[in-house]
Symmetry: C2
Subunit: 162 residues, 2 copies
């Protein structure tokens, strides 16, 4: 099905189980990642989209959440945002849902006054599809911090000017 069938929504409490379920099924996400997503989700639902430092956007089809993105302003910067997470249900990969979510996150960041979006990812082989995703979405490979995550596993920083 084309990604145009998707509804992009601000998720509510009721979507929490779906969003965390999608995250838990992503093999690249480690337990620490899941804990962090859970913390950010808790703050987002407790404070609401207007007051939260973190913002979520979800993609739904026929009422089912198929993916989400989470972003937020980087503290102590003017107009710089981080794309913290972007994840699509593993049964719905290769349908363009990630691209639609990324595009929506960029639009929302821009609407909030953001000018620079940062996507941090890992340098190891398993993240090659992730790195290709950012490159074909117009991101630049901006910086690398060697051995950041663990010895041999670099932090790779992509940026997009909005």
């Amino acid at each position: 099905m084309p990604a145009t069938d998707l509804q992009l929504v601000v998720p509510t409490n009721a979507d929490g189980a779906s969003i965390l379920g999608i995250a838990r099924n992503i093999e690249l996400f480690e337990p620490g990642d899941i804990d962090t997503i859970q913390e950010l989700w808790a703050e987002f639902t407790a404070k609401g989209d207007a007051a939260s430092w973190y913002h979520f956007v979800a993609a739904r089809r026929d009422g089912q959440v198929l993916g989400f993105a989470c972003y937020g302003q980087r503290p102590l910067t003017q107009g710089t945002y981080d794309l913290y997470w972007i994840a699509v249900d593993k049964n719905h990969h290769r349908q363009g849902i990630g691209e639609v979510l990324l595009d929506e996150a960029e639009k929302q960041v821009k609407a909030r006054g953001g000018r620079l979006l940062i996507a941090e990812t890992a340098g190891k082989l398993a993240f090659e599809p992730t790195r290709r995703f950012y490159l074909r979405s117009g991101y630049q490979l901006e910086a690398r911090i060697r051995d950041f995550y663990s010895p041999g596993d670099d932090l790779v920083v992509f940026t997009k000017r909005l």
Copy 2:
């Protein structure tokens, strides 16, 4: 006076006013920086050094706090630490106190199992002395994210392998 007169201590609640006073007098620190230092200090004193995600070390001479450093493990990494802040009372600059604090922070990070210490600073002219401080302390210029803090003001990332 030589920096060897300094006592390096884990600061307690009673040192909070001195530490925040030193930070407020650093012209390079902006109001948002001070708020962040205050938040980290509050967590550190509430949880205690063992449980806190953030750790402070203070340099005292004759009972007076002359400087402090604050560091902590970077979430989702194995053995990577951030040096969040290092500041010396502006009446006691050029006495080697910053070097002593940096050296102590590195030793503490290593003792906690850290292997990589990251010091993030800004690319603008006012931070040239800060950048020189890291370079002469054995840090490498590892990465740069253009326009990170604001248009024209880059993030400059220094690293040291411990």
